[in-house]
Structure formats: structure tokens, C-alpha cells
């Protein structure tokens, strides 16, 4: 087969009230690494499900291996060599690695009786294909995310696989694990297996894929070879908006520092850290994962109190021994993993916004003032442009970027002086990222002092006035953001 492994032509698919795909065409060749990008809700998962037969399209057709299908069933898809690796990997956490690997092929062979010896052999062969080493008798629930993913990949390869589709495979992985995954993807490519992977991370798209397809609101906006793509075009295709980078220029910087760290340290995490933070300033703290940057942030907010040095707020020493003390001194903290740390996902957006100021919304006898509550909520939803039809919806109905805004709103509602943000745009799509940056800069102009902890170098360069680089627990450089670049920062980080 010389060309064209899979072609999907003019696919339409709608759900009640939502046109998820509008005239989308897509093509992939054997051995091609193809990235499918698009913001949340743009229809990526829907396209994958149409291709793999989970959904049947309203119109349009597909060609697989030269054969035309008006619609394809999941069985057809598997038999044609399409394997999907879902975000949750479709594993059985309660079963052993061996059973997880062998289950699907045993089912496919319509076996009724289990032969444990044969299962072990199937499993051994499966992991050998990608040189994956793992205890076959370990319970899958005890493995790391990356290991689970390897199991899903090994399992997908057991069939006569020609195309592997991965839905956001890198979201939950560390950098090292992403590296490892990419190596495996490259090896699969050598064997002529095509890979379609969903991602909205710019660097990943550029690093690994040869072809890309970008969807926006269910429509195909661009497809072609990655070599012809640059980051501006990518952002534009994703969002339909042109972004001018707005580099932060500190305007109203206060004379006196509002926050000072004097030689602070915490055992085995960081030591001898000193810096001054003024109103109107945004300081960036960057460094590798183990540089102590996250611990520093946690200490400043009192989650893991310091054991050395002193912290001064408005010139007076303050012992920040817990988050309550930090909050009394108008310090707020937006955690890195907003999903697990910052929000009550099943509660309403409104409740999440007012949760930390709930005391101040109550009247003298402790009864909640509903009018003030809804005023506050309205104000923050408007000011931070949280896009929701109704603030009483659960927080989990929001996209990542909007969830991050709710966390911000929750803290800003407290009228803070100092806001610490750890990885403010991790896992957030480009459009929201841009908006969040705008909000942060505006807040600084209004007199807030901000501290951003991030390893996203363009982010710190664009949004900070000063950058502190951490390495092995201490500050190794204090740079003027306007006068430095990624290379300089990297040289200090490594």
C-alpha cells in the first residue's frame, strides 16, 4: 500500500444542540506521526471516536486501506488495525499487569477458559515489543501513570496494528516520561505504524509530529506539515485570535518593599534565600523541578514553614507558621495543581469564589448576606471573564483555563496585597493562557505584588519584571527580565 492509510472525508457529527464536527476531513499515511490539536471542546475526541467507530458520523465517509466505509463499527476498526489509547488507558487497576495485557486478546480470540500459562506468554511477548520492563504480577493500580500508559501501548500493539491513536497522552506525564514516550513513538514509526496523537502543547507538536491538523469549534482550520508551522500561526489557528505579546512593564512600583525574605531556609529544600518584593512588581522564580522552587512557594504561604531567616511584611517581621497567618497578612497562594489543591470541583463556581471570604460576607449574627454574596460573584465572573452560562454550575464543567480563573477569583476576593502563583498556566490552553497573563499584569498595575513560580521561560520573561533563578535550593541569579533571554536563564538553571 503505497499511500493513504486512513482518510476521513467531510465528516459531520452533531450531538443534541452541539455541532461537534463540521465537514472535517483528515488523512494519515503509514508511519506518519500526526498531531491533532485544538482547544477544549473543539471536537478532537469526537473525531477520534468517529474514526474508531465509537460514534457513527451524521454524514461523510472513511477510507481505510483503500476500502470505503460509510460508517465503521468498533470491531471493524480494530480489525482494520486501529487502536485507541484513551486518556484513562482503559486498564483494570485491580488486576495484574499480565491479565491487563492478555485480557483483550483473549476476548478477541473468544476464549472461554483461562489458561494462565498462555496469558503469561502473551504478556511477556507484548511488553518485549517495546522493551518495557515491569513485574507481570504487579497490580496495575500500583503503577505510575507512565507505566500504565506503557501497558496500554503494549496492549495496543498485540493486534495487527497500523494506527495508534492517543488522546492527550502527555497530560499526566513528567518531562522524563514524555521523553520516553516520544522515543517509543519514534520506534513505532520505524515499524511503519502511524501515530495520531492529541495535544495542545506547542512544544510537543513541534518536537515530534510531521503533520498536524488543527480543529476549532468543530471545523478544520488548518492541516499540513509541521515544518511550515510556527508558534504564532499555531496560536492563531487554535484560537482564531492574533496575540500580540504584551511584555510586562512595571508602572506603579512602590518605594518600600511590601514583602522581604531575609536569608530564609527550610531543611533539605532551600537555604539562604533573600529578595524584596514591591507593590506593582511581578517577580518570577524559576528553576528545575528539584531546585526547591515549589517548596519555597509553600513556605512563603506557611504550608511548610521556614526554619531559618526572617520574613518581613510591610517592614515588620512575621512568623508565617500556617496559611491562616499568611492570609491575615494578605498573602494568597494559587497552587500548581489547581484541580486537586485549589478547588472543590463538585461545588458550584459561585461557592468556590466566595469560600475564602465567607466570613466577611456574613452579617453580625453570622447569617450569610445573599445580596452581597451574589454581588461579589457577579463582580469576579465579569472581571476575570469566567465563561460560564451560570455561576451555580459545578466547577468541573469549566475548562482548565476557566478553572484557573476561579482559583484566582477566590483569592482576589480577599483584597490581597501579595499573590503567589505556582505554575499559573500549567495545562491551560493558549487562549486562556494569554488572558490569564493579561489579568496578572493588570493586577500588578493596580498595585498588587505578585510572585510567579514557573518553569515556562517565555512566560516568566514576558510577565515578570525580575527573575530569580533557583538551583539546588538557592538563588543563583537575580535577572532583569527586560535584559535577559531563555538561554541566559537556562545556563543558570542547569
Amino acid at each position: 500500500m503505497a499511500e493513504g492509510l486512513l482518510r476521513a472525508v467531510d465528516i459531520y457529527k452533531s450531538f443534541v444542540g452541539v455541532q461537534a464536527l463540521k465537514k472535517v476531513s483528515f488523512e494519515i499515511n503509514p508511519g506518519e506521526i500526526h498531531c491533532l490539536a485544538g482547544e477544549n471542546g473543539s471536537g478532537k475526541s469526537t473525531l477520534i471516536k468517529v474514526i474508531s467507530g465509537v460514534y457513527s458520523p451524521d454524514s461523510g465517509y472513511m477510507e481505510f486501506g483503500g476500502k470505503r466505509y460509510e460508517k465503521i463499527t468498533p470491531i471493524d476498526a480494530i480489525q482494520s488495525g486501529i487502536q485507541v489509547i484513551y486518556q484513562d488507558f482503559s486498564i483494570f487497576p485491580n488486576l495484574t499487569v499480565m491479565e491487563n495485557l492478555a485480557f483483550n486478546s483473549e476476548l478477541a480470540d473468544r476464549r472461554k477458559i483461562v489458561n494462565w500459562k498462555r496469558m503469561r506468554k502473551i504478556a511477556t511477548d507484548a511488553i518485549a515489543k517495546i522493551n518495557f520492563k515491569v513485574d507481570l504480577d504487579a497490580m496495575v493500580g500500583t503503577l505510575t501513570v507512565a507505566e500504565k500508559q506503557m501497558i496500554a501501548i503494549s496492549r495496543a500493539l498485540m493486534f495487527n496494528t497500523k494506527l495508534i491513536i492517543m488522546d492527550e497522552p502527555t497530560t499526566a506525564l513528567t518531562k522524563r516520561e514524555v521523553r520516553n514516550l516520544f522515543n517509543i513513538i519514534l520506534k513505532l514509526k520505524e515499524r511503519g505504524i502511524a501515530i495520531l496523537f492529541v495535544s495542545h502543547k506547542l512544544n510537543e507538536v513541534f518536537e515530534i509530529s510531521e503533520k498536524f491538523t488543527i480543529l476549532r469549534s468543530g471545523e478544520l482550520v488548518a492541516t499540513g506539515s509541521t515544518a511550515d508551522l510556527d508558534s504564532e500561526k499555531f496560536s492563531f489557528f487554535m484560537t482564531g485570535r492574533e496575540f500580540q505579546k504584551k511584555t510586562f512593564v512595571p508602572l506603579n512600583v512602590s518605594k518600600e518593599p511590601i514583602f522581604q525574605a531575609k536569608g530564609i531556609g527550610m531543611k533539605s529544600a532551600f537555604h539562604d534565600v533573600s529578595f524584596d518584593l514591591r507593590r506593582g512588581e511581578i517577580i518570577g522564580i524559576t528553576g528545575l523541578l528539584d531546585s526547591g522552587r515549589t517548596e519555597l512557594a509553600l513556605s512563603l504561604f506557611g504550608i511548610r514553614p521556614i526554619d531559618h531567616g526572617a520574613v518581613l511584611v510591610n517592614g515588620e517581621e512575621v512568623k508565617i507558621i500556617n496559611p491562616q497567618v499568611a492570609m491575615q497578612h494578605k498573602i494568597g497562594y494559587v497552587p500548581e495543581d489547581r484541580l486537586s489543591e485549589g478547588l472543590f470541583l463538585t461545588q458550584s463556581i459561585a461557592d468556590n469564589i466566595v469560600i475564602s471570604e465567607i466570613d466577611s460576607l456574613a452579617n453580625k449574627i453570622g447569617i450569610l448576606d445573599h445580596k452581597r454574596r451574589s454581588e461579589e460573584i457577579e463582580r469576579w465572573v465579569r472581571e476575570l471573564a469566567i465563561s460560564t452560562p451560570n455561576p451555580d454550575n459545578a466547577c468541573q464543567t469549566l475548562s482548565g483555563g476557566n478553572q484557573q480563573r476561579v482559583v484566582l477569583a477566590k483569592w482576589l476576593a480577599l483584597n490581597l496585597d501579595i499573590l503567589i502563583l505556582n505554575g499559573p498556566t500549567v495545562g491551560v490552553d493558549i487562549g486562556s493562557k494569554h488572558d490569564i497573563h493579561g489579568i496578572l499584569q493588570k493586577l500588578a498595575e493596580e498595585g498588587l505584588a505578585l510572585l510567579i513560580i514557573s518553569d515556562d521561560l517565555p512566560e516568566v520573561l514576558e510577565n515578570c519584571s525580575r527573575i530569580l533563578v533557583m538551583k539546588s535550593g538557592s538563588i543563583v541569579a537575580d535577572l532583569d527580565a527586560a535584559k535577559s533571554d531563555e538561554k541566559t536563564i537556562l545556563s543558570y538553571m542547569m
Binding site: I75, F92, P93, F103, N104, L107, A108, T142, T144, T174
Partner: protein, 346 residues
Amino acid sequence: MKSTISNTLQKLSRRNEPYVFLVLMLLCVLIEIRSGQFFSSNNLVDIASAFAVPGLFAIGAFMVIISGGIDVSFPALASLSVYATTKFLLDVNYQGGVWLAILIALALGAILGAFNGLFIGYFRLPALIVTLGSSSVFKGIMQGALNSKQLTVIPIGMKNFGTSSLFIAKNPVSGLTSRMPVAILAFLIVLFLVYFLMRYTMFGRGLYGIGGSEISAHRAGFGVRNTKFIMYVMVGMIASLAGVMRVCMMQQAHPTNMLGMEMNIIAGVVLGGTAITGGRGTLLGCMLGTLLIVIVENSLILIGVPTSWKSVFTGLLIIIGTGVSAYQVSRMNRVRSVETVAKEVV
């Protein structure tokens, strides 16, 4: 070599069965020391004979819990089918062997189980709600339609089966004798069949799979609905068989006598290490847990604990048992996060 031994030990320490076994042994030894009666042959036979019916129920409850479901209707189901069977056989004045009673009860059990399976498997309603409801329905049919009263006479075949024994154990000291009922064979056969089913068939592994992740099972191409349906049918049959055994052994059919057993049975299953959330647990553990409950229920009297205290002990056992498994889960998670961090740093 050494490392493989410690590895095995480590793996064992993460399982529940060794702990339950240990507690079981401790309890037995304690009773033996206090009473000198526990390990006497007739007491052991008594326990075995008391174990047959709860054992059967526990096997059914085990399958349901493994699949991620729960069934609180099995005592009512068993009562209804065995009551209907007995009454019918009395009405037709049946004089033959027990096999017809067993067959009819199995058929009724399958139908009643299918009722559960239909709502849980095909209509995807929550198992607890469905079985709470069906439990009422079964009781209602029994009391309303069948106008149930205690049947003090049972068909001759059932009566003979209930009094026949495999062997008789005699306590040389006290002179007391105990019969090993033939009913124990029914338990052993079901135990063997279900063991085979759960370990060596795709159906059984599928139950584990469904209990672990229903979505994954579905995506793997497993017939989740059918599997659940068939399982509830099987469980209905096992429960009905237990009902027949119970009536034969008691020599009378009492409509409400089995009701309320569900809590202790489920407790025993969970005590034996079966995760109430589904997907994890072994039949061996389940049997040990149930045995523990049965011994507490039947033998505390040997050491002079008044029967009114039974429920306190059972309750304590459940708390300890679930506590141990919760502790193990948290320890496993801790080990795991340390490992993750270690991998991260390397």
C-alpha cells in the same frame, strides 16, 4: 533466593487472608484453652454443619461484590423460592427424593435472580436500590400471595435428606454426638464450581474486570450487561440452594427465619478481604471471613460469653477487619508515592 522469600512474604503481608487466618486461629485456640471443647471432633462437625448455609450465601455475595455490585435480597430470595417449593410439593403430596425440590428451587432462584439481573444489568440501576426493592417484593409475594405460615411438616424426600449424614462424630469425653449433614456436599460442590468459574473462565475474570473498571471492560469488548445478568441468575440459584439446605436441615420451612442474614454474610465476605468497592478479593479469604463470623456466632457460648454479646463481637470483627484492609491500602499508596518520587529524582 533469600530475596524471593522476602518478596513472597512481602506480597503475602499485603493480602488479607493471612491476617484473617491468624485471627481465626487465635480465636480457636482461645476457645480451646478456655473450654477444652473447641477442637473436639463433634464441635468441629457442628461448626462445619453450621457453616454450610452461610457458606453458600457467602459464595453468592462474594461474586456480586467482586463485580462491583451488592445484593441484600438473597435471604428473601432464598426464603421465597424454598417456601414456594416446599408448599408446592406438599400440596401435590410429593413422595419422591430431594432432587425435585432442589430442581424447582434452582429454577425459581434463577427466575428471581433474573429479576435482579434485569434491572441491574440491563437497565443499569444501582444494585443496592434494586436489591432493597426486590427484597421487599420477594417478602411481599411470600406473605401476600403465598400467605406464608410456618410449615412444620416438609416433604418426605427433603426430610430424609436433612436427617441423613455422611458420618457421625462422637465426643469421647462428653459422649455427645454430631452428624455431618449431606448438605455439606452441596456447599463443597458449589464452592469448587465457583472457584473454577472465578479463576479459570473468562466469565469469572470478567467479573473481576467489571468490578475494577466497567468502562475498560466494555471497551475491551466484554459483554458487561450479559455478564451481570447471568451472574445475578447464578447467585439467585446458589441462594435458593442454600435455602433448600437450610429447610432440610431444620426439618421445617419458616418464612422469616433466614431474613436479616445478609448483614453478617456481607460482613464475613468483606472481613475476608473482598473490597466492597469491587474487583478485589479471593474465595479463600471470603470463606475464612465467613468461618470467623460463624465461629463467633456459634462458639462464644463455649467460653461463657452470653449470646446477647454476639453482635458486639461481630461488630468489632468487622471494624477491625475493614480497618486492616484500609490500612493496607493506605500503606500501598504510600509505598507507591515514595517509589514515584524516587523515580522522579533519578
